[in-house]
Symmetry: C2
Subunit: 244 residues, 2 copies
């Protein structure tokens, strides 16, 4: 899809110029990183959803070290964009935990990279429909529940971790690149580990947002920020998480 | 090792009665759960270390939503015990991020179970010496960097996730139950995922504590706490993380 076509189709859904750019930037980044399930294909998916393009997320409460945002019907992408913009500008101190009923949120590496490029360290997880069964089998019990962590690097490229607990993505299944039975916790013989992480992260999110899909984000201005540069040096050119 | 022998040997290291009980409780729990690398064998390991049994951790600063503890030379177990005791009593609200230069910290599931039994949801990660190489090979770059998440359950057993990013434990290697070359990120063909998680979590900890081993803990009084009970029901008797 050409960029101008993507923007035109997003605008045709009723989104204003700023939201079109926010959504396009996310999908386009996914496309360029080869995360096709979160790329342009999502525009077609959005065209099949009931949307309220005028909905705006709001920060419903701000307590010491803790913000709660509400989507108020806005797409999760737009909720996270507002959160990242605010954190990047405000520079959370000493630390901020942010929760929201945000869905869908795309590839989480995008958001923690945004924060890392603003000099913030952040960990972000998001819940989604149940897709992963228990390693012993049965119906899907938990979502793929990714965990993303962004590590700023004042001397160069940040490190951007973005790990889904599924062996394949749901996007791969719907576009036919993987079979439904491959959508299990990753890890083969040790799939109980990825299953456990999905359970724990989903439970953590649920404890803040209840029975809806949502996010938990922890962000801080790092007191020490040499880890990324030092690891790159020790790794001696080996590809690190988030590298192209 | 008989409990009275374990206690006698810990006391012989110079620890006072309360610390002996704290350490014994942790090692004994590990033993009963089959986590032998964190069990009684650790008493022998402690006997070979230089220890300051009189050292006391302190809460060095308390900012909005954020506590920084310092070990001041105390064992990591004792640092985490102080933190868990204080959080359980105080009931963090709305959320608390706690960091410390704590090492060694044993099996992290123990600490988040403590908090879960006090009704708190918590996520805890800890750094340790580099043991895991990059999936493409080379020298060890990051620790096994476990992530533990405790989900309280007002209606029954909590769910206690405790996942090391290593395919085997370092304890298994030193007691000969695993070969050194098996100490790699778990996941087989998808070991890059466990490696990425170890990198991200270690970097997150490092951003708060710098070049020392430490912990990052996020704890909260959950607004919603029915996830554990509901998942148990949906799982229909399948073993869930932390179950005996």
């Amino acid at each position: 899809m050409r960029p101008e076509d993507a923007r035109t189709r997003l605008a045709a859904l009723g989104f204003g110029t700023a939201d079109v750019e926010t959504l396009f930037a996310h999908f386009d980044d996914a496309e360029r990183r080869g995360k096709l399930g979160h790329g342009h294909a999502r525009i077609e998916w959005l065209e099949a959803q009931e949307l309220d393009p005028a909905a705006r997320p709001v920060k419903a409460s701000a307590l010491p070290g803790f913000d709660r945002w509400e989507s108020r019907g806005a797409l999760g992408y737009l909720v996270l964009a507002e959160i990242c913009a605010e954190l990047s500008e405000a520079g959370p101190w000493p630390v901020r935990v942010v929760v929201a009923d945000a869905f869908p949120t795309g590839h989480l590496g995008y958001w923690v990279r945004w924060l890392a490029e603003a000099g913030l360290v952040a960990a972000l997880t998001a819940s989604s429909p149940a897709r992963l069964p228990h390693p012993d089998g049965g119906e899907p019990l938990v979502g793929t529940t990714p965990l993303a962590i962004g590590l700023p690097n004042p001397e160069g490229e940040p490190i951007v971790v973005d790990v889904s607990m599924g062996a394949v993505t749901y996007g791969d299944v719907i576009r036919g690149a993987a079979q439904p039975e491959q959508l299990v916790p990753f890890g083969g013989e040790q799939a109980h580990k990825a299953f456990a992480l999905a359970v724990g992260l989903e439970g953590l999110i649920s404890s803040f947002v209840g029975d809806t899909h949502g996010i938990v984000l922890v962000a801080a201005k790092p007191e020490f920020s040499h880890f990324a540069a030092e690891l790159r040096e020790r790794a001696g050119g080996l590809r690190l998480p988030g590298d192209a």
